[in-house]
């Protein structure tokens, strides 16, 4: 009897060790881990309508593949943190939504995929989801940006409307913004909405990183010139500063006639603007080379079992290349993104009347510039952005962009090299 009491702590320790030990077996993903079921789980982020799109795609897949089950996991906030912790805990979903900008950091935990670039409307779409020459996600939606213009303000100022298909140059845009700006104080009408530096840098032909992401290039001549362009537009009061828009909804400003143009218009913005009947508005391309286009893809967990992998591959192929799935990116008058296959691309154009020119999205999709993916993007660009907004008039600072940006870019390059 005495011996058995002495063995009790050892038994408890053994039990705890069994429970706490880390294993290297594939994630169970709840169902299908070992039972031979082909059920998969699918994690994604987004608003209500975006989640509705993805749930509809999952439902359509189940319908097209009787006997399979896709359990959806809608992560409403801190998406990347949550999937990263789930990967660490081995509880990640079989399929995970991922954007091209975040792909590099997650690639080691994703299975390699076979992607046929020819199925998509332009080559940038599939290449956006490549990392070190391999595909780690199947593209399923693109998020190009366009610019909304207040037609009434243009007419009142006697300024001709920009072309619906050809982008303005940055100098033309500045001249137009100057002509459309007027008034003082809280009644001031701005020719432009607040200017997103990174977007305008791409529009000016520059980039945050160089092509192979070995160097941060926003401190180069184009970067400094573009920063000065943004600062000048704000200083001349043609565009509101970050302080002006703090706590404000720029879509409401546009609806109230306080903004003549709204340049950061993504597919998800359509729903907000669909409610605006007065002033009259339409969409045109973003000036210059346009803003960077985000491409969203579906990645498969490296730890999926062979049966799950088989189902997951079918699912991502279905979501990215089948018209029945791509059409579901548009729900009511909002869109998770622009469909990326030729057969579905015009679906978004039909959401609003032709005079709104949603076809501008199709043009932007075809010409969209996609940035490179960097492994520690959040940290590297976050530190640089914080420096820009702290020290220069791109945010609340006053220092000269020509001095600050090269310094920040050098630090940014050092951080890239440490990866």
């Amino acid at each position: 009897m005495k011996l058995s009491y002495r063995l009790l702590p050892a038994a408890a320790a053994l039990l705890l060790a069994a429970g706490c030990a880390t294993g290297s077996q594939p994630a169970s993903n709840d169902s299908g881990g070992s039972g031979g079921s082909a059920d998969i789980t699918f994690s994604f982020w987004g608003t209500n309508s975006e989640a509705a799109s993805l749930k509809a795609i999952a439902a359509a897949f189940e319908q097209a593949n009787p006997g399979t089950k896709v359990t959806t996991n809608w992560i409403q906030s801190d998406y990347e943190q949550k999937i990263q912790t789930s990967i660490a805990g081995g509880t990640q979903s079989t399929v995970m939504e991922i954007s091209n900008t975040s792909l590099a950091g997650f690639a080691p935990s994703f299975a390699e995929q076979q992607v046929d670039p020819g199925k998509f409307v332009q080559p940038n779409i599939s290449s956006a989801l490549q990392f070190q020459g391999k595909y780690y996600a199947m593209p399923f939606a693109a998020k190009p940006k366009v610019m909304a213009i207040n037609v009434d303000t243009f007419k009142a100022a006697g300024v001709p409307l920009p072309s619906a298909t050809t982008p303005l140059t940055l100098d033309e845009f500045k001249a137009i913004a100057a002509k459309l700006s007027h008034g003082d104080g809280k009644a001031r009408v701005f020719g432009s909405s607040n200017l997103w530096y990174r977007g305008w840098l791409t529009a000016a032909g520059g980039g945050y990183y160089n092509a192979d992401a070995s160097r941060c290039t926003f401190g180069d001549e184009t970067g400094v010139k573009t920063a000065q362009y943004v600062v000048d537009l704000q200083k001349d009061r043609y565009a509101p500063t970050s302080l002006d828009i703090q706590g404000q909804d720029q879509a409401q400003w546009f609806a109230a006639g306080r903004l003549a143009t709204f340049s950061d218009f993504g597919p998800w913005t359509v729903a907000d603007f669909a409610k605006i009947s007065k002033p009259a508005w339409t969409l045109v391309p973003v000036p210059g080379k346009g803003f960077p286009m985000e491409v969203d893809g579906l990645a498969i967990s490296k730890k999926a079992t062979s049966k799950q992998l088989e189902t997951a591959k079918k699912f991502v192929e279905f979501a990215g290349t089948q018209q029945v799935a791509q059409d579901k990116l548009i729900q009511g008058n909002t869109a998770l993104g622009v469909p990326i296959i030729a057969a579905s691309t015009p679906t978004l154009e039909k959401v609003l009347p032709a005079e709104r020119n949603l076809a501008a999205f199709t043009t932007a999709l075809k010409n969209g510039v996609v940035g490179v993916s960097v492994a520690r993007e959040a940290q590297i660009s976050g530190d640089a952005d914080k420096g820009m907004t702290s020290y220069t008039a791109l945010g609340s600072g006053k220092d000269d962009v020509a001095k600050v940006l090269p310094r920040l870019a050098a630090k940014c390059t050092d951080a890239l090299k440490q990866q």
Partner: protein, 349 residues
């Protein structure tokens, strides 16, 4: 996932346990097994020491807390010591790096900035909060009609969560549309940028912290009610005026409570996070509080090893400051029990 846990979960799922309950099954099984072991140990102890009933009962009653403490507090703490010695991004397996994270922390200028901001916040806000809470408690201790209403009004803000407070004050101190600059404008004063100005951001957060002194105020109020009235009567008979009453009766009697509030205030101040998080560290890192920097490294930069090392650095700082405060204040804090203890010892001699 751990293979044993995975196996138990699959087994539970195959037995028809509802999906939402499946993750709980391994945990419940672990608890059952633990209690079986504890029960057997208690049974054995009871047989060996039949008169130790109360001791066994004590350990059995306290065991749920002990188990919880071991699993949810000691376990993660021990785990974080190990993680602090690794480089780990949650995606790839942790790599042992020895003390490199600690060494980096001591050379990182942002750690120095985070410590500076956090200590400055604690150094200024804790004395201000202590003084204000004590002053308000003194005022609200007066036996006047309507006092209960004012006590409630002062206490209410401390019920508002940190995020809601910060969002509220971001609006109050919005340089363009905020109440603060609007009011200042009526007197012809151009208000500062508050949270948007590197030199004003920290003072603004300190100012904001004074809004929630109600919690400490209630503790002071309870302490004031507990000061024996005979001490005041005796001092008054000796000719003490209000100032002397305060200095020689109220303050010594309240000193343990002041120390308690100061200590909890220091610990709370060093762990401040929400304000820095919502303000994204403030301009020029003016609101880079230590815990926010730690969070940023863990959940934005995914540098779990470095963040764990920072957590241990913070733990050491808090421990040291608390020890210094507790030790340094011993000469100024009056404990009745200590005195009676000393008297007792004297009598024994």
């Amino acid at each position: 996932m751990n293979p044993t846990i995975g196996w138990i979960r699959n087994l539970a799922a195959s037995w028809g346990v509802p999906d939402v309950l499946v993750p709980l099954v391994p945990f419940l099984l672990l608890l059952i097994a633990l209690y079986a072991v504890i029960g057997l140990a208690a049974y054995g102890a009871k047989r060996k020491w039949p008169r130790a009933d109360k001791t066994i009962a004590f350990w059995l009653f306290v065991s749920p807390w002990l188990i919880g403490f071991a699993i949810f507090t000691v376990g993660p703490m021990a785990s974080s010591i190990y993680v602090s010695l690794t480089s780990w991004d949650l995606i790839t397996p942790p790599k042992f790096v020895g003390l490199a994270n600690y060494s980096e922390a001591f050379q990182d200028p942002r750690v120095a900035q985070a410590l500076k901001v956090t200590l400055l916040y604690g150094l200024i806000s804790v004395p201000l909060q202590t003084a204000l809470a004590f002053l308000v408690a003194m005022l609200l201790n007066a036996e006047l009609p309507g006092m209960r209403f004012f006590r409630t009004v002062w206490y209410l803000p401390s019920l508002v969560s940190g995020v809601a407070q910060m969002v509220l004050f971001l609006w109050v101190f919005n340089p363009r549309y905020g109440l603060a600059n609007d009011v200042l404008g009526k007197f012809g004063i151009t208000g500062p940028g508050w949270f948007n100005d590197a030199s004003w951001a920290l003072p603004t957060v300190i100012l904001m912290s004074l809004w929630t002194v109600g919690g400490a105020m209630v503790i002071y109020l309870a302490g004031l009610k507990d000061v024996p009235s005979n001490l005041y009567e005796a001092a008054a008979l000796d000719g003490a005026g209000p100032l002397r009453l305060f200095w020689h009766v109220t303050l010594p009697q309240m000193s343990p409570i002041i120390l308690f509030n100061a200590l909890t205030g220091i610990i709370g101040a060093l762990q401040i996070f929400t304000q820095g998080f919502i303000a994204n560290g403030g301009p020029k890192d003016s609101l880079l509080f230590f815990v926010y920097y730690l969070y940023d490294n863990a959940f934005q930069n995914f540098r779990m090893g470095y963040a764990s090392a920072l957590a241990w650095v913070l733990f050491a700082v808090i421990l040291a400051l608390t020890a210094v405060t507790a030790r340094g204040s011993s000469f100024a804090v009056y404990y009745e029990t200590e005195l009676s203890g000393r008297r007792k010892r004297r009598r024994t001699r």
